[in-house]
């Protein structure tokens, strides 16, 4: 009886339309361009960027922090929603978890792009120095990558088995391997749900640790406006914030492209919109606290960075960030009438742009206003840096598209379970949230 229902989910996996091919070609061209640019950067050195003393970090590190932030989309959100039994999460968890796993590669990738000697990157493992926050990052991110990959894979197994039974040829072999003998016996179901439950809880502290240590890369130094004790929670909040925005953006696109209107309903966007509203307020609270303390104390070094951000060279970026991360999303999301699919999409795109700018205005202004009276300059990324950034976004989109052609982007078996859950009192998700 579930068969006709899942057809709209399965059919896009097994067919490739002309529009998909056109997009894949276009994105592939961007990735190929970026690959050539990277070869040029490897040959010429980081002189190909516009970095210099004292602005040693720029676009690549901004992207690193941004991508790692977006990675909180999936695993963390879906794990929290799973634990609190928010039943409406069912069609969106898979989409979110894929973002996490894929985007982590680009987070780490941007650090590699930023290395003067990427050929020696392995030295970090061969000669580790554990007092360096970068080492903490490497430990934390690799654990997160493993956990979130397992957490993506486990709920995929029953769906892979469905595909295995419906396909032939190379796809059958592929799914047969990945389904690791799933026949859907009660014992298997019991084991699977137990494993998912354990992973859902285990992945939360790992996810929190990841963005905390990313912030510590900055906060552990004594540089003005980096050396801040609230950076850990501030970055975690920003990460969840940009993560939810990324999920909503992906949901709208997938819904439109694959015609999944029956599964991704306005209620999903409304609920995620409320979650996003909460994060908007939290983000504003942290941003306000961070800047008020710097301004009120009037410590000259902190103040020079503060002034550059609020009134100086970085003011256009800073105030765009405030508009994109607070004014626009708050106005849209606080009103139930504008908390529609289009409304949440506009808010999410604004937040994605705003959070990227936030990362930039954390990394660059502090470095542009050093304590030492050395010559400083105005940093604007070079064409090489922009090209590699475009390549990262294109490659991410391409991999995400590729995933939708191999695996169901909506969890089939979890949808099958949904009616049973809906039989429970309608207010159940809300009360569970409150209890939690």
């Amino acid at each position: 009886m579930a068969q006709p229902e899942i057809e709209p989910i399965i059919s896009p996996i097994l067919s490739v339309g002309p529009s998909f091919k056109r997009w894949a070609m276009a994105l592939g061209a961007v990735v190929a361009w970026a690959a050539m640019v990277w070869v040029w950067q490897l040959y010429y050195g980081l002189g190909a960027t516009n970095l210099g003393r004292p602005i040693y970090w720029g676009l690549y590190i901004t992207n690193f922090v941004f991508f790692i932030g977006v990675s909180h989309a999936g695993t963390l959100i879906s794990a929290i929603l799973r634990i609190v039994h928010a039943e409406w999460r069912r069609p969106i968890t898979r989409m979110a978890e894929v973002i996490t796993v894929l985007v982590l590669f680009f987070g780490v990738g941007n650090v590699i792009l930023d290395l003067g000697r990427p050929d020696r990157a392995l030295s970090v493992i061969l000669h580790p120095h554990f007092r360096s926050p970068l080492l903490w990052d490497i430990c934390s991110i690799s654990v997160y990558l493993v956990c979130s990959t397992i957490y993506l894979y486990l709920p995929l197994i029953p769906d892979i088995a469905v595909l295995r039974d419906r396909t032939s040829g190379w796809r059958h072999t592929f799914y047969h391997r990945l389904a690791i003998g799933w026949i859907g016996s009660p014992a298997q179901w019991h084991r699977l749900e137990r494993a998912i439950g354990i992973m859902a809880i285990g992945v939360i502290p790992v996810a929190v640790s990841v963005h905390t240590v990313v912030s510590w890369v900055f906060a552990m130094t004594i540089q003005p406006m980096w050396h801040s004790s609230i950076f850990g929670p501030y970055f975690v909040v920003g990460a969840i914030f940009s993560g939810i925005a990324a999920i909503i953006t992906a949901m709208v696109i997938v819904r439109k492209v694959y015609g999944l209107e029956a599964y991704l309903k306005p209620v999903h966007f409304n609920n995620l919109g409320i979650l996003l509203l909460v994060m908007t307020c939290l983000w504003f609270y942290f941003t306000f606290a961070e800047h008020l303390t710097a301004w009120y104390a009037q410590e000259p070094r902190e103040l020079s960075v503060f002034d550059a951000k609020l009134y100086g060279r970085f003011a256009p970026l800073f105030w765009t960030m405030i508009a994109c991360c607070f004014v626009i999303p708050f106005t849209i999301l606080a009103n139930p009438r504008t908390r529609t699919i289009i409304g949440t999409l506009v808010a999410s795109i604004a937040i994605n742009i705003g959070m990227w700018i936030e990362r930039f205005t954390i990394v660059v202004p502090s470095l542009s206003n050093p304590r030492a009276p050395v010559h400083t300059f105005i940093y604007w990324p070079s064409w090489v840096e922009w090209s590699l950034m475009a390549g990262c976004f294109a490659a991410f989109t391409l991999l995400y598209m590729g995933f939708t052609k191999l695996f169901p982007i909506i969890s089939i078996w979890e949808l099958d379970e949904e009616p049973a859950a809906e039989a429970a009192p309608a207010a159940r998700p809300a009360t569970t949230l409150a209890e939690a």
Partner: protein
Amino acid sequence: MARWGLVIDLDRCTACQACVVACKHENNVPFSTPETSARGRLMTWIQLVGVEMPGGTTAMMPMMCQQCDRPPCTDVCPTSATYLNPEGIVAQIYPRCIGCRYCTNACPYAVKLFNWTAPEWPESMAPMRNPDVSIRPMGVVEKCTFCHHRLQQAREEARAAGRALAAEDYVPACVQTCPSDAMMFGDLDDPHSQVAGLAASTRAFRWMEDLGTRPKVVYLREGE
């Protein structure tokens, strides 16, 4: 073991920049042009900068790696490519450096330099490079080492002569060159040394010492 330190008397310093030139020659510091300098890529291990003094005056200070006893740069290095050696010199292992530039960002003095491109010299200058100092490859961080190669040489010469290393055997190029004798070098742990005496004088201050970095470059205030 010695704890090497440098004292710079700002009353004697004429800001002639002979130390800057001597350092560039001694340590094979790559050539820079005004264009590269404007982009923040000036390669120089010593530089004269105007530092605001208490009382509102500006002093021209030769600025180089402050050889901190508690260096903020060494803690953050993910590969131990930069570390505090037993004689108090903040060392930099070029073949281990991955070029992440975390140390350059952690240093409050902004004295660590990155090789953005492969080093270059005009053809006429290339043969004048110092064979005792390795040329840094593209993509690694470098900085003042207190002419560490001179310490190694002095130690070998002392061993060959069958005597212990004396503090006078080892002098960095900037100190040797200074025409007004504004720079003094020696063992800060030896209470009888000139540098230890000067470092204890009332004129002595360390740059940004309120940060707790405990530099071993000591400046003597001018105008007293």
